[in-house]
Symmetry: C2
Subunit: 166 residues, 2 copies
């Protein structure tokens, strides 16, 4: 089981966008530069975040991305589902219905116990991801910052932030 | 995030092996036939289960596979880790350390809050998978069986089970 690298990139990008003032946006290129990642790869994930309604896209040469909701209202689960898709990790192929001399259909009305147990585990995983918001991540970062992290972010935003009407 | 089809195949195969008498084994070909899956693909997963110490391999033309432990002592987590590998789904690339004007190393002594939250969710996922054993799956199957499921399994074993010294 593996989550794509896009999940880490998307969460860090969302955290960066959460530090923008209300009228600010950042381009995909700036977000990619700040995180030292491939711009084209990050762009794909920003588009997924946009399709999921987590970021707003401001078009045009002075455009860019900003959060579509307050940081308190965006969870890790929202981001993981946006980037990785909504399907569960365990995808039951109903192999219990295959093979020689298959059983009558009435045995398969109830979901397979194996699929049920695997999906129960995914429910607790998702519930746990839902407990952490972008606002929580920022609080955590601030609690461990003596000023250096904030100063680096501010210096970057001073060069790259674009002002736009909201 | 996606688990390979091998997980479903491995769990069903382990459940089938749990129904064998103490001196019985099943070949990879028989397990593949029963579940209607590719023998070569299943063989790869049986080898992973063997490497993880979950099944014993009896070599030779009358050989095959049997559980290496009691069904009570084999959990869904054991099987998922055997087939998918022990690494967590979220693999932190430390992108917080990249980009322009990187921060001094002292800021990275504590794990990134994003990685910590993602890994906390994986811990609850794994803990949930650990709650279900092969014995639990068999109890659940029996509770929903009016005899048809057991009869099909027995008929198959009658043809395919191989007797071996234990």
């Amino acid at each position: 089981m593996k989550l794509g690298d896009g999940v880490e990139q998307a969460i860090h990008s969302m955290t960066m966008l959460a530090t923008l003032p209300e009228d600010g946006v950042l381009s995909a290129a700036a977000l990619a530069e700040f995180h030292g990642v491939s711009p084209s790869y990050l762009l794909k994930h920003l588009q997924a975040l946009s399709s999921a309604g987590l970021v707003d896209t401001v078009p045009g040469p002075k455009g860019g991305y900003r959060l579509a909701r307050k940081p308190e209202a965006i969870t890790l689960l929202d981001i993981v589902l946006a980037v990785e898709g909504p399907q569960p990790a365990f995808r039951c192929r109903e192999i219990r219905q295959r093979g020689p001399d298959p059983l009558p259909q009435r045995y398969f009305e109830k979901p397979c116990g194996i699929a049920a147990a695997m999906l129960a585990a995914e429910r607790v995983y998702r519930a746990e991801l839902k407990k952490t918001s972008i606002a929580d991540l920022i609080s955590d970062l601030k609690a461990n910052d003596d000023g250096g992290i904030a100063a680096r972010g501010c210096a970057f935003l001073e060069i790259h932030e674009r002002k736009t009407a909201r």
